[in-house]
Subunit: 119 residues, 2 copies
Amino acid sequence: MDSSQAVQALSALAHDTRLALFRMLVERGPDGLAAGVIAERLGMPPSSLTFHVQHLHRAGLITQRRLGRQLIYAADFTAMNGLVGYLTENCCGQDSAICAPACRPEAAGVAARPGQRSA
Amino acid sequence: MDSSQAVQALSALAHDTRLALFRMLVERGPDGLAAGVIAERLGMPPSSLTFHVQHLHRAGLITQRRLGRQLIYAADFTAMNGLVGYLTENCCGQDSAICAPACRPEAAGVAARPGQRSA
DNA sequence: ACGATATTTCGAGGAGAGTCGAAATGCCGA
DNA sequence: TCGGCATTTCGACTCTCCTCGAAATATCGT
């Protein structure tokens, strides 16, 4: 991931609606969610949803697949992975460790602590 | 860090100039850099620099302190820490590990590979 | 083939971001 | 106190983002 890709991904996530949308897809996992369902949950007209979904798609943060007459969107964990990696390596200090809360081995084992993923 | 703060931080970082500015401050470390120096390095007029620097400051990503007649800006690692933590916990899947490249113990040792921090 | 459903594309409008020169503010040295 | 340097504030402009209704496209069931 280069800095231009990072800016695109950051920009895609830097909006209330889109961050909520992305988190919804992350929670849902690989199954993803149909555009209509997302629009309804977010309470916005279909055309507005398309705008945001495309923004995230262009940034490579979500995937799109067709299921009958529905379009299913799902979070692309690999891409998010890349973004977090970029931020950690380029924006968290050279001697690392300064900013590595995501790197606590304990956290990996426990994972998905109920209290933290409030939605 | 709540989602509104995350959006503000992401938005602050979601711009070529500001991402470059922030990375410059990260490289520089706690000593920080004077506004004038940053403006010169980035090749932009002082008033434009102020605009971007304030954006990052409002988002809590950088600190400001006065040194004589200069204003020194420095990266706030705690804030960046918070952002990366937020993204890891809320946008990387509940069973974590899915998106934890920042968690390779080896990476911590190597860190800041010269080739990566190009611009 | 036809009607219904799901979603996108198009077009227009308003709101906010980004840019920069000129003027104002804050701080230093003499 | 006065001139000069470092930086911010102000004002105006352009450009892109966001929003949403209406029309177009794609797929399914009959």
